[in-house]
């Protein structure tokens, strides 16, 4: 079998899920020898190719992110929701209790150190915010859920090993953790 291709992305996320992946430390060298990393935040391939496994960390907070999630779904056979943000929206959902425009207004005109006499709210050349931050399965079908904020490195390694064995991983109960 040729090496399975993997694509990963971070959407409305803090990068912690990808850091937890790097926390498998030396084992990463072995893993990298067995899979082919395509588009990820740590490589320079910008367009998602056809892959066996797609991994999304982070929730969906703007139109571009929703678009990337759909694209990832189209291009991959197995889609993994990786981390609390992707699984149920995570920390980002705290903004859902407020009006999106009020959130922007506060952040860009009202904080102590902001100097913005014209009241500019960013938006030009930028993707539109969704009304609410949402988990990815509100937009696309998810095959594997890996919660945790972030998931432990051991859990991540387990998931990849299962995939390499040709199985669709199911995170065992003792590894399931919500933060």
């Amino acid at each position: 079998m040729s090496k399975p291709k993997i694509a990963t992305t971070w959407l409305e996320a803090c990068a912690g899920c990808h850091m937890s992946f790097l926390d498998i430390d030396e084992k990463i060298v072995d893993l990298l020898a067995q899979v082919e990393l395509t588009s990820t935040p740590i490589t320079d391939i910008k367009e998602i190719p056809e892959v066996e496994v797609g991994v999304i960390s982070g929730a969906l907070g703007n139109e571009e992110e929703a678009h990337i999630a759909r694209k990832m779904r189209e291009k991959c056979k197995i889609l993994i929701a990786w981390g609390d943000c992707a699984v149920f929206g995570g920390i980002n959902c705290l903004r859902n209790f407020m009006e999106k425009d009020a959130v922007l207004q506060e952040a860009y005109t009202n904080t102590v150190s902001t100097v913005n006499p014209e009241g500019i709210i960013p938006g030009e050349e930028l993707p539109k915010l969704l009304h609410h931050a949402i988990p990815i399965d509100h937009q696309v079908k998810v095959d594997v859920y890996v919660p945790g904020c972030p998931p432990d490195p051991e859990t991540i390694l387990y998931v990849f090993q299962e995939i390499l064995q040709g199985r669709i991983p199911k995170v065992p109960v003792d590894m399931m953790r919500y933060d």
């Binding site: 992305t9 971070w10 959407l11 409305e12 996320a13 803090c14 990068a15 912690g16 899920c17 850091m19 937890s20 790097l22 430390d25 030396e26 060298v29 990298l32 990393l37 588009s39 935040p41 740590i42 490589t43 320079d44 391939i45 910008k46 367009e47 982070g58 907070g61 703007n62 571009e64 995570g90 920390i91 980002n92 705290l94 903004r95 209790f97 407020m98 009020a102 959130v103 922007l104 506060e106 952040a107 860009y108 005109t109 904080t111 102590v112 150190s113 902001t114 100097v115 913005n116 500019i120 709210i121 960013p122 030009e124 050349e125 930028l126 915010l129 931050a133 904020c149 972030p150 490195p153």
Partner: protein, 477 residues
């Protein structure tokens, strides 16, 4: 509108940076570059959605701004909470916090250099994108890759030992910390250090050699004669707690002030095309008062480094220019490695200090001050947490100025410089796009952080024509 007379090029997403961003290049009719923007495309709203919560929750919520330097947010937040409680924490608590902070500097700087930037240095900006990444490094320079991995692991283990998780640890609490250090843990940390430190010095030599061999490139690559900002303690480089100093491009100390007064001196400018704000020194206004932070900012701002080996390296660093202020953007990498050396030496000092084994960890208080400010040096630059609370301690207002934001003006300027020098018309070589991205990588921006507020950052370049039509979008693959 200027779009009527320009065309634009877009690079999206910018890769090997931490977060999401893109570059838009606007062209004139004759194909020359009119202007270039580095757009930070994500917005999250931490300042707003924490309102109404108990301030004591902040050291746990705010690290979710960024998974790369969660410890910075954790500590800045705890410091702001100490101020609300009106307490001075114990020497043991303060040193344990600083130890965790050194662990973070080691891991985060190692990630930036080995995992993200070294591919450009080892393979060149024009190398095949398929190998220009950490997997490529692992294949061709396995020793270096393993060193990067072990160094990052060393730092992450310190964090985990104290805070029980590597990413989003929980150790600091308002008034102190929640756990002491055990003897065997201390010994293990001390044991792992010497080998790594030696190998780090080899890496420093490697980077020096690179900078010497590429002296011309280093001199002109996005060089910016800016001011520099960083914390100092008695003039020495300081990462955990000190005064804020601003040094002018010519080397004069422009100002030095207590971090509690930051908002009197630092303002943030807003542009319509980026979710990331542009901080500046108020007395000079925007953009004149813009400055740079992070490794280059700190080593330029301080007088010296308090530990011997890093101090010797700093002397060598400064000998590169006549007045000792180094404006070369590629020297961020060198400065970053000097700081790892300092972090090792400082961690060793702390581990050998009797206070580090102390058990007096927390000061309690019933007081609630209505305001608390915590300022710290995050790996990427000065980080400000500022909370206002009601009389019960519920958050009323939050202001965060995040490390990367401080470099926003410089990143934009640098990208524009490279674009202006190398782009004529819409046919743009991949290596030029990668060079623009490398400008950004030098600053090691963490867009997750900076847009807390916002946060994300692979790179895409869009070229827009004089009529505002998108001519070309370059997704590098």
């Amino acid at each position: 509108m200027e779009n009527i007379t320009t065309r634009t090029i877009e690079v999206n997403p910018v890769t090997r940076i931490e977060g999401h961003g893109k570059i838009t290049v606007h062209l004139n009719d004759d194909g020359t570059v009119d202007k270039a923007h580095f757009n930070v495309t994500q917005f999250r709203g931490f300042e707003v959605f924490t309102r109404g919560r108990d301030f004591r929750e902040m050291p746990v919520i705010t690290p979710r701004i960024c998974g790369i330097c969660p410890v910075s947010h954790h500590l800045a937040s705890a410091k702001a909470c100490d101020a609300i409680l009106g307490v001075e924490i114990t020497p043991s608590a303060s040193k344990l916090r600083e130890l965790m902070h050194m662990g973070q500097f080691i891991q985060s700087h190692a990630l930036s250099f080995f995992h993200l930037s070294s591919p450009d240095i080892l393979f060149g900006f024009d190398a095949d994108p398929a190998i220009r990444n950490i997997a490529g490094v692992a294949q061709k320079y396995p020793e270096l890759a393993i060193l990067g991995i072990s160094m990052r692991k060393y730092g992450q283990e310190i964090i985990k030992t104290l805070g029980s998780k590597k990413v989003h640890p929980w150790h600091s609490i308002p008034g102190g910390v929640n756990r002491s250090l055990k003897l065997d843990e201390r010994d293990e940390m001390l044991q792992g250090m010497p080998t790594l430190k030696l190998k780090l010095k080899d890496t420093i030599e490697l980077v020096k050699k690179y900078l010497e061999e590429h002296a011309d490139l280093a001199k002109k690559f996005a060089t910016l004669e800016s001011s520099y900002l960083g914390l100092v303690k008695e003039g020495f480089l300081e990462l955990y707690d000190g005064d804020i100093r601003l040094r002018s491009p010519r080397g004069r100390i422009t100002d030095q002030f207590s971090s509690k007064d930051y908002y009197k001196y630092i303002g943030e400018h807003v542009e319509s095309w980026s979710y990331l704000k542009f901080p500046f020194y108020r007395p000079l206004g925007f953009p004149h008062g813009s400055y740079r932070v992070g490794p280059l900012g700190r080593v330029n701002a301080c007088d010296d480094i308090s530990t011997p080996e890093a101090s010797a390296e700093l002397a060598n660093f400064r000998s590169m220019t006549e007045d000792g202020v180094v404006h070369y953007t590629l020297y961020y990498h060198y400065a970053r490695l000097i700081e790892i050396l300092y972090a090792f030496e400082r961690a060793e000092e702390l581990l050998n200090d009797p206070d580090i084994m102390g058990s007096d960890l927390r000061v309690s208080s019933r007081e609630i001050n209505r305001e608390g400010i915590g300022v710290i040096e995050a790996p990427r630059g000065t980080l400000f947490h500022h909370y206002q609370v009601d009389e019960k301690g519920a958050i009323e207002k939050v202001n965060l100025i995040v490390a990367t934001g401080n470099n926003n003006y410089a990143m934009n300027k640098g990208v524009e410089m490279v674009a202006k020098e190398n782009i004529r018309g819409t046919e743009v070589k991949e290596s030029v796009l990668n060079s623009m991205e490398h400008v950004i990588r030098c600053y090691d921006p963490c867009l997750s952080c900076s847009t807390h507020a916002v946060g994300k950052m692979p790179l895409q370049v869009t070229i827009v024509d004089p009529r505002g039509e998108e001519v070309r979008t370059i997704q590098k693959d």
